[in-house]
Symmetry: C2
Subunit: 348 residues, 2 copies
């Protein structure tokens, strides 16, 4: 148990105590087959006794593997990015990798370059970039880096391997659901133009309407925040009686703002106007009324991203530029269901 506080013990120290060579210690630690059980026991005992831990730097130096991955994220306190971050770390850890994160406030070209630089200095073997803005992905494509990079949420359109939830499909599910409930048309409050996910959701909405032979109404735009949703909701309230009975909002936070604006304008949800969101944040179920929304499987995104990145690192390079799409899922709640009012029991 005791050990010098000055310098952590080295493999040679352990070897000396166990009466073997340092190489044998290395073999025990590396689960090498050809070690006698008795020897292994001696070594393990010595390791325990000294509280020995392998020096990761020395190991990384000779193996050329740091077993560290990097993640670049922005808006990391939002539910989506935070969930993705969590899933990525969990998946990486399961593969024995450490994850170093850089969280950016804004995803500019400079900041992105700095982030990759910082991670590179730290010796990461590869990076997952949560880069939902198109400009960020374009910047990324132009940057030089000595390791593979996988993007999440950037859509399949760029020359970088990517993993995405199928936003287009999610939007179709939500829009179709509203049409099926009897609405003649569906309005849309979209996210920022620069966001690929916003564009994909808008496209899915438009496609569905057009397939149903409906001319898409005016599109509104927000910045994902509840406040921007509130403002758009006020504008939407002005369209009442002119064909507005349903709105598909590009995320749950904005939907929250829309709900509030409608409520304040005396509009009932879902009786007067049905509202659907996107993301299924934990609060959505308790909005007034509970929000119909689209759930994304972030755990799957994390797992697939890490698997893909490790493939690239190991040189198991798939042919072409890999693009992985993950299916989202519609969650129907009271905000779009005209026959159940807000007064009903919540799901458990």
């Amino acid at each position: 148990m005791a050990q010098s506080q000055l310098r952590p013990p080295t493999m040679a120290d352990v070897a000396r105590l166990a009466g073997v060579s340092h190489q044998t210690v290395s073999r025990v630690l590396g689960d090498h087959p050809n070690v006698r059980d008795e020897t292994r026991a001696k070594v393990l005992h010595a390791i325990e006794e000294m509280g020995y831990r392998r020096n990761s730097s020395a190991r990384a130096l000779v193996t050329r593997r740091t077993r560290t991955l990097g993640v670049v994220a922005s808006d990391a306190t939002l539910y989506g990015p935070a969930s993705t971050l969590f899933a990525l770390e969990e998946a990486a850890r399961a593969e024995g990798y450490l994850v170093s994160t850089v969280s950016l406030r804004k995803l500019t070209v400079e900041k992105l370059a700095e982030a990759l630089d910082h991670l590179s200095e730290g010796g990461v073997e590869g990076v997952v970039a949560i880069a939902p803005q198109r400009s960020a992905v374009e910047a990324l494509a132009g940057l030089r880096h000595p390791f593979p990079v996988v993007t999440v949420g950037s859509g399949p359109g760029v020359g970088i391997p990517s993993v995405n939830v199928d936003q287009h499909l999610g939007a179709r599910l939500a829009t179709r659901h509203l049409l099926a409930a009897g609405h003649r048309t569906v309005w849309h409050l979209a996210g920022p133009e620069d966001w690929q996910e916003a564009a994909d959701r808008a496209a899915g909405w438009r496609t569905t309407l057009e397939a149903a032979g409906v001319e898409p109404p005016l599109i509104l735009r927000g910045d994902w925040s509840p406040l921007s949703g509130y403002r758009a909701g006020q504008e939407l309230a002005g369209w009442l009686g002119r064909g507005l009975t349903a709105v598909f909002v590009a995320n749950d936070q904005m939907a929250l703002g829309v709900l509030r604006a409608l409520r304040e304008a005396g509009v009932r949800t879902p009786q007067d106007v049905a509202v659907a969101g996107f993301d299924d944040i934990p609060e959505s179920e308790f909005f007034a009324p509970p929000l119909t929304t689209v759930r994304q499987d972030f755990a799957a995104v994390g797992k697939r991203s890490i698997a893909l990145l490790l493939d690239l690192i190991e040189g198991r390079e798939p042919s072409g530029v890999p693009r992985i799409a993950i299916e989202p899922q519609l969650v129907v709640r009271a905000s779009t269901f005209p026959y159940t009012s807000d007064q009903g029991a919540p799901p458990v």
Copy 2:
């Protein structure tokens, strides 16, 4: 620009190209003073030319500094932990450190030990543990680790250096605010018993009531989730007409559930019952009605935690076990303000 793809260039390669010794290259990179400008320029040019980057493992091996910090978090998708995580990373990066995170689902002793082990394998120089459960902190205190550890959110009661928002103060602010608004007493929906922050908030509430000469009413308990808040809200609705006019809820998510339950029971907020929360999540401002709550300065928590951890790492050990408290701030909104109804304009 060109370089061999097989092996990244080493310092020796750069030195050869620049016509100097590798040590001179090291000096240039290390901003050593005694290098002739002309030499420095030659070296920098060669570095640029070869796209050279220092090998962090080799550097760490000889300097015994990995310049990496670890963070252990749980419930990392919740607003509080996610914000703390973000602030920690930002503060660490400003000091030139990389941050490796381990996100746990549940903070059990085993998982915590595994997490520290994993970070230790990765060679971190110190760890910040976001450990709000008492059991976790106790476990932490009992674990052996070869680096300093600082906790966040564990309260000042344990033998580990810690940084905390002053939860007791936050609770006092909220409770006092409700009493000042004319309520005879204030009920409390607390968080899980094992959470130090929950205990501190409850204690602050109790202290304030007692100081005002009021017997604290029955205390309710939830698990931070909106659902648990909803259930508590249903129970609270049963106490109407028996002195219930104000509730202080230990976090905003539960407050959301309480609001819904009250609404469904035909209780108006704030006219019939005033509700205050804790956290100031971004959605709170758009709840029905907008929620009075307590805001915590997570950026400050992050900065102070990193500063403290670096002090410990550098051996600038402060006397005793350091405990840092950060002041929270009351944010008053419509949910506790009887003279402005939900119909009013929202803050911008």
